[in-house]
């Protein structure tokens, strides 16, 4: 399913727009990353795509239909992990299933599987207040992945993870992406990560923000972590870095 | 001597009542309106209560000097060992009655057997006087079902939730005004003419503030007389003073009812307020028989006409 961002602007207060005339088209099954400075409006843009917020101007289309409320095909991973503190990690992960109907044996084992994937198989009976920050974001991640959505919107899902866990997660995401082929929009502030995972990378410029640059990433899939140390890769990372720098200087 | 009183500091006199200031006590408001209390050197204050028990408690607790209370409340307080003096007979007639709808055909107490009968509350004169009625017919409260019905005690009667209700003359008047319809009334005074309300003081006050009490009773007596002669004027005054006084026609009717109960044949020669010791003895005896009192209180010894005699 494709996502079209059509001349979108956003104001919270009058006369100080956050986003102005943003245009983009994300193809079906494409993996797009969005980078940009803190406070530039990445989260806001993603929330509008998710139907959690309305643009002040312009519109967003998913699969040809205008978005004005959250849609079934879309799964959203919040920047700050939002969990229910009265549910164990397992119960938190099962939430999407519960909301869709009954939770059967099958769903339960799927949830356990995915918790294992994010390295929490031993902790699934803990309550959120007993967990570390990284554990919480992994739970939120597991809850998103379990739904196997057509469109996956992720807001810095790996920001709270250590290098090693992050790599594992990146790897899993890549694997699941290949398997289910969701259209993915991925916000990150880790440029390496963006380049490693994406088909295209958008750079959001500052105040009012718009997409100032767009890079197609040429590497074949599946990509391996050793790619990071290849010169073509590091060159691309450096370029993107300079792009953001330029964007904020403008 | 009246002028000399005016020059002096006014002396406080607090009267604890069994009720809020209501139309039935219009003569008091007449006295207030006309400044008779000040003329007698009194700073009069009306202390409200909910029942005769409150009035007596208020004089015992020192919240008031004199109590306007029903005789049952006085007798029960004496039973508790309180030292009291009954000094003035406010209503020598028993105002309590038993009211039933004509259609239920209750003509004698006997007809109540096995029925629901409403009273105002279990601590009110209605209940005690109902017992008196039952006793006169050789029955006890076990033979009927007593129901405390609250302020609107005629409501259940109209709803036919009870066959009869124990009430007072003024209560009956109001209920009739509200469309109660045709009723049968059994009057308690035909059985035992207990004086309804009396002025009571503690023995201490009686000894210490005799003069004050006489001055107050004098004003009271004068106001009763005035109200007897000028009910219309009293009805007007009540509109400003009484909490239930907004309807002047009603005021007038109520005042007329109370005027009748304020004076009886005996008082016509002994003067208003005269206490008939014999009837008090009879009341005590009856109450002992019914069980309203558990032990004798020698009411004859605390009933005194000393102050009444000093009144002009």
């Amino acid at each position: 399913m494709e996502v079209v961002i059509n001349d979108v602007s956003l104001c919270f207060q009058k006369e100080k727009p956050i986003l102005k005339h943003v245009n983009a088209k994300i193809d079906s099954q494409e993996f797009v990353s969005m980078i940009g400075k803190s406070g530039s409006g990445k989260t806001s843009l993603l929330k509008m795509i998710a139907g959690l917020m309305r643009p002040t101007e312009g519109e967003i289309e998913i699969g040809g239909e205008k978005v004005d409320s959250p849609r079934d095909e879309v799964t959203y991973v919040f920047q700050k992990p939002v969990l229910l503190e009265w549910r164990t990690l397992l119960e938190n992960v099962l939430l999407p299933y519960e909301l869709q109907g009954h939770v059967q044996e099958e769903q339960l084992s799927r949830a356990k599987e995915i918790l294992d994937l994010v390295g929490l198989s031993q902790d699934m009976d803990k309550y959120p207040h007993e967990c570390s920050g990284g554990m919480l974001s992994r739970v939120a991640l597991a809850r998103a992945l379990i739904t196997e959505p057509k469109i996956l919107l992720m807001d810095e899902p790996f920001a709270a993870l250590d290098a090693l866990t992050k790599e594992q997660m990146q790897h899993e995401l890549e694997r699941l992406s290949q398997q289910f082929k969701p259209t993915t929009i991925f916000i990150t502030h880790d440029i390496q990560e963006a380049v490693l995972l994406s088909d295209r990378v958008f750079v959001l410029g500052e105040r009012p923000a718009r997409i100032v640059a767009e890079y197609a990433i040429p590497f074949d899939r599946p990509r391996h972590h050793e790619l990071k140390f290849e010169p073509q890769f590091t060159q691309l990372v450096r370029e993107l870095y300079q792009e953001i720098e330029r964007g904020s200087a403008r | 001597s009246q002028t000399s009183h005016q020059e002096q500091e006014l002396e406080s006199l607090k009267m604890a009542s069994w009720s809020q200031p209501i139309v039935e006590q219009s003569n008091l408001f007449v006295a207030e309106e006309k400044g008779w209390f000040e003329e007698a050197g009194l700073d009069f204050e009306y202390v409200p209560g909910a029942g005769g028990g409150d009035a007596i408690k208020n004089i015992i607790a020192g919240n008031a000097d004199i109590a306007f209370a029903n005789v049952e409340a006085v007798l029960q307080a004496m039973e508790q060992g309180e030292k009291l003096k009954i000094i003035y007979n406010i209503y020598p007639e028993n105002v309590f009655n038993l009211v039933s709808l004509k259609e239920s055909n209750i003509t004698s107490v006997e007809d109540l057997r096995g029925q629901d009968v409403g009273v105002y509350s279990l601590s009110s004169g209605t209940y005690d006087n109902l017992k008196v009625l039952l006793y006169s017919a050789g029955m006890t409260e076990e033979d009927i079902n007593v129901v405390p019905a609250g302020v609107l005690n005629f409501g259940p009667l109209m709803n036919k939730q009870v066959v009869a209700t124990a009430a007072t003359d003024t209560g009956l008047y109001d209920a009739l005004q509200q469309g109660l319809g045709e009723v049968n009334v059994i009057e308690v005074k035909d059985v035992l003419n207990t004086p309804t309300d009396v002025f009571v003081v503690t023995k201490e006050i009686f000894n210490q503030k005799r003069d004050l009490l006489v001055r107050f009773l004098q004003v009271y007596k004068d106001s009763v007389k005035y109200t007897l002669e000028n009910p219309e004027e009293a009805a007007k005054i009540a509109a400003d003073y009484a909490i239930d006084g907004q309807d002047e026609q009603r005021n007038l009717d109520i005042i007329k009812i109370r005027n009748e109960t304020s004076i009886n044949d005996e008082m016509k020669d002994k003067g208003p307020g005269w206490l008939d010791v014999e009837i008090f003895k009879q009341v005590e005896e009856t109450y002992l028989n019914i069980g309203l009192l558990e032990k004798p209180v020698n009411v004859a010894e605390i009933v005194t006409n000393e102050l009444v005699k000093e009144l002009k």
């Binding site: - | 009306y46 202390v47 909910a50 919240n63 302020v151």
Partner: protein, 253 residues
């Protein structure tokens, strides 16, 4: 209060209409249930001729006096308890007991002790306000995010500072919710204490209204209006002055 919608008004008119109709159709006596038109007529006449006003003022005085007293006590003690562990430990058992006491049952005794003026009524009202405010103050002051408490601990805030700068702002919505409950209970407290013995006040009117049910309804409507204004007053105070303590939470209305 939002402007009532069309349907709300319709509902109101409907209920009043049905009531009026039933009273006429079934010939219900005013003693049992007066017609709305009769109540309304009486209400207007007596307000115009000034009969109700002294009673309204008397009741209002008791309500406001008791409410202020009770709120100061309830919130104050709530602070003390949330602040001092010693105080808490010593008075905790009594606190719950005092909360569980049916204070209105004391009305007859208070009348004997304090006389018949405004004092016993104000005391009753204050006692009645006290409990919900204590409860909501303590709840608000102690239901603070663990993380924020850790922040204040790490900044070495004193107990007093934590109370004033963290617990108090957190408690504001709870305290206001308590105030709203309390102000409504104040009205009840004033009325019931007037039942027991008063010369003046809408409660005294109700209890001495012999068989004038219409009067009872009128007084009841006045009391409801009083409660409504006080309730809304508190609601608006919060909305205007303490809005920021609701940030990040969804408000109703």
């Amino acid at each position: 209060m939002k402007k009532p919608s069309f349907y709300s008004l319709l509902l109101f008119v409907g209920i009043i209409g049905i009531w009026e109709w039933i009273v006429y159709a079934c010939q219900i006596r005013p003693l049992i249930l007066p017609a709305p038109s009769a109540i309304f007529a009486q209400l207007i006449t007596q307000l115009l001729n000034g009969y109700f006003w002294p009673h309204i003022w008397a009741t209002l005085l008791e309500i406001i006096g008791g409410f202020i007293l009770g709120s100061i006590m309830g919130i104050g003690l709530g602070f003390l308890i949330a602040q001092s562990d010693t105080v808490r430990n010593i008075i905790q058992p009594y606190l719950i007991a005092s909360q569980a006491m049916p204070k209105l049952a004391l009305a007859p005794l208070l009348a004997t002790w304090f006389g018949f003026g405004y004092e016993p009524k104000i005391i009753i009202v204050a006692l009645i306000c006290f409990f919900p405010l204590l409860e909501s103050t303590i709840t608000g002051l102690t239901f603070v995010d663990q993380e924020r408490l850790e922040l204040f601990r790490s900044l070495r805030a004193s107990k007093r500072q934590t109370l004033l700068k963290l617990r108090l702002p957190t408690a504001v919505p709870y305290i206001f919710s308590g105030l709203r409950v309390a102000v409504v209970l104040s009205v009840v407290g004033a009325v019931v204490s007037e039942f027991v013995g008063a010369n003046k006040g809408l409660g005294a009117l109700i209890i001495s209204a012999q068989y004038d049910t219409t009067l009872i309804f009128s007084a009841f409507i006045l009391l409801t209006l009083m409660g409504l204004f006080l309730y809304e007053g508190i609601h608006w105070t919060e909305k205007l002055l303490f809005k920021k303590y609701h940030h990040s939470r969804r408000e109703w209305r």
